[in-house]
Amino acid sequence: MAHVLHSEKAVSTNPLKSSQPLGAAFAFLGVAGCVPLFHGSQGCTSFALVLFVRHFKETIPLQTTAMDEVATIMGGADHLEEAILNLKSRTKPELIGVCTTALVETRGEDFAGDLALIKARRAEALAGTEVVLAATPDFSGSIEEGWSKAVVAMIDGITARVSPRRNPRRVAVLPGFDMTVADIEEIRETIEAFGLEPTILPDVSGALDGTVPGKWIPTTYGGTTVEEIRSLGECVHCLAIGENQRTAAEKLAEVADVPYSLFASLTGLKPFDRFVTALAELSGRPVPAKLRRQRSQLADALLDGHFHFGGKKIAIAAEPDQLFRLATFFVGLGAEVTAAVTTTQGSAILEKVPADEVRVGDLGLFEELAVGADLLVTHSHGRQASERLAIPLYRVGFPIFDRLGAQHRRQVGWRGTRDLIFDVANVFQSDLHEPTPEGLNPFRRRENDHDSRPSPEPRRH
């Protein structure tokens, strides 16, 4: 069990976090025909937009209520109303996802009340467009929590409360923000292999998978439809992926009485065994031969890969669920997590991270803790630490702006775990150092006490 320690520093050096409203917008981007709207000054939107574009290399619909000095003093309800009406008439979206920012939350207005009034007053003009609100000030939480708040807001605001007839084949899936397009596709394929029909919320695989649509579309063009969100109550079961999705799953249970199972991670042999078992139970069907073959391939990849992982020291900086998923993966292959840094304190999963301690902090702290590690695992902003420490960086999560194809990399399921093993093992292999007489001289090695440590005890968790 890991001790979770909070930073005492006043300055954050090289932030690890992306902001909470960005996480909420990210979730809204997985809904078809949606435009996320930041309630804040235009810079809040501009920074998030640029970061999304750098990561996805796609056009990103993201708008702003453009709060100015006067509105900041007098109140922003008018700006919110005007923005919603402008968006409605200009882009005709199915959904407008409002994300509040630190600016308006510091001022502290009754946004839910304002929005209810706007919706009532402008019912006619807004017909055919859902508007939901996620309260996501930048001064608390981070991308993972923002994501979760948006999903809760959509279920709360859109899903029909009257429980319709259950469809025995339909299951709801609530993925985390760090599931890539390829991860979502893997989950969908696996579920469909059992004859089940998944509704994935949010579904970035339809919206941000890098296609060329053939015309100009000012909203998202793909993802979960609003109708699918409305009818989520038809699902027989909900599969929530990552501890962070628990609130959303509970909200769905509350709104439409859909029972849920939580899967802390889908990376690794055993975690995915559990997921596939659940699917077999839900469908009443045996596990298809094709899937079992994938499992066997992963077993082989674990055998081939473990040579490269055993005894390695890994430094990871990531959002809580992602940190847990990656740390258990590395430890499961015989590596040791020597530095674990995360963004926020609140998540229950942090105590389960297989490391001695988890530090809440920034990439500055990560760089201090990572000295002596064999591999850095974090997003692209870890590149400066990687250069300075001369330790290779394996990029995960968000943002990845200096490598192509981040959204098409698969890390979940048996096949995704296999890919991940090979990817990381190849990083180790390309960083091999040729043996030299000096490097192997027993007298020289004796002077370096950190090299003469015994190999780490196998962990039991």
Binding site: L22, S41, T65, K215
Partner: protein
Amino acid sequence: MLSPKVQALFEEPGCDKNRAKDEKARKKGCSKPLTPGAAAGGCAFDGAKIVLQPITDVAHLVHAPLACEGNSWDNRGAASSGPMLWRTSFTTDLSELDVVLGQGERKLYRAIREIVETHAPPAVFVYETCVTALIGDDIDAVCRHATEKLGVPVVPVHAAGFVGSKNLGNKLAGEALIDHVIGTHEPDDVGACDINILGEFNLAGEFWMVKPLFDELGIRIRACIPGDARFLDVASAHTARATMMVCSTALINLARKMEERWSIPFFEGSFYGVADTSDALRQIAKLLVERGAPADLIVRTEAVIAREEAIARSKLEVFRPRLEGKRVLLNTGGVKSWSVASALMEIGIEIVGTSVKKSTPEDKERVKQLLEDEHKMFEGMAPRDLYALLARHDADIMLSGGRTQFIALKARMPWLDINQERHHPYAGYDGMVELVRQIDIAIHNPVWAEVNAPSPFDADGTVIGERVIGGGASTGARAASPASAALEAAVPAFHFKKFAASGVGDADDC
């Protein structure tokens, strides 16, 4: 607190645009009111950070909740020849408790102290943002206190996001420099050929393509602000004999105030384009000689210009056969609206349109003369209209900033980045050659033919292309592919004028 300063900036006498306005229009200021739900571009804080952050040895501390810095750091391509501290991101990352309990000022002071103790920078710049302005943190007082206690200049930058646009933020950054930095250091090596360059960002290191020309002429760059600058260079900038202002609207207030306070004459120029680079060198030489530099500087400058122009021309000529008649859409604004255009036209490239957003009336006049058709000028274009223009192949390539990149790519058309995120240096004589080379590489990439060829399968998945096994064409009529018909329908006829004021253009210039 800020409004007198902002109002004063709107009255900027050095600004051409401003001088053309009447009293009432001037009072309104130069930032257009933003339309909620239809706005694009950065805020004042963004603008201030853009201008100041390339000062390489300074610690830049953003006093804000996470988003202002956390979502935006390490994202610009300015280059440093030495210190790398500017790429390290510092923020107070205010939490909810900090905001509610009013701990902002204390946290800010501690943050400054931690930075000074760990990194020992020559100065710390502290950026105010929306939330810290709203909760009323007295940043000036904290900075003053920190300067005294820690013995390091701590400079407050007042540019909260909500006060206005990115461009206003550029100017507010200039105000911070004039109020707190320039003139605070007296160098012991003042010379008759010292100059300042304002508004040069050294993107992709491009200023290093120009600097050797100055070195050859014996002209010393006292301060290039902000590209590859050191704090002490900026602090000594008041000792230069002349100033060249590069990005025409960004730091005009700084140039004018330096002229007022230290009698440093300035001119506006550009290093984009062959003729413009020559012009800039000429003007600098002239100003320096007027202020006491050796008279032969002018002759030597002309010699360098003649030599470099000849080399550049011969290098550019190589591209003429490959690029003559190609149609370029310039979506950038400012001086680039004509300086790049004129250089491209020299080798027979046609300019089908150029954005004059953020251009001065003088810029616009030059565009008009150059293109001989004012319909080719546009203020800004909505993404939908840009897409339509490109999808109809009314241009062979678009040159713009990253924000509009995917409009071109989704229309399956070549695109080249000429703004701040680009990776190629375009300044000076060699930079122009590089720009033309990059256009050539982009336009002639074989992927365009491949992605624009119709798919051999129609919307239902039926094969309509050439058969593989049976031989001959398949039954589907290929000539009138449904995809291209749909495109025709989706893309209406288009005129520049019609959309001249339709808003969302490329606000990324500078």
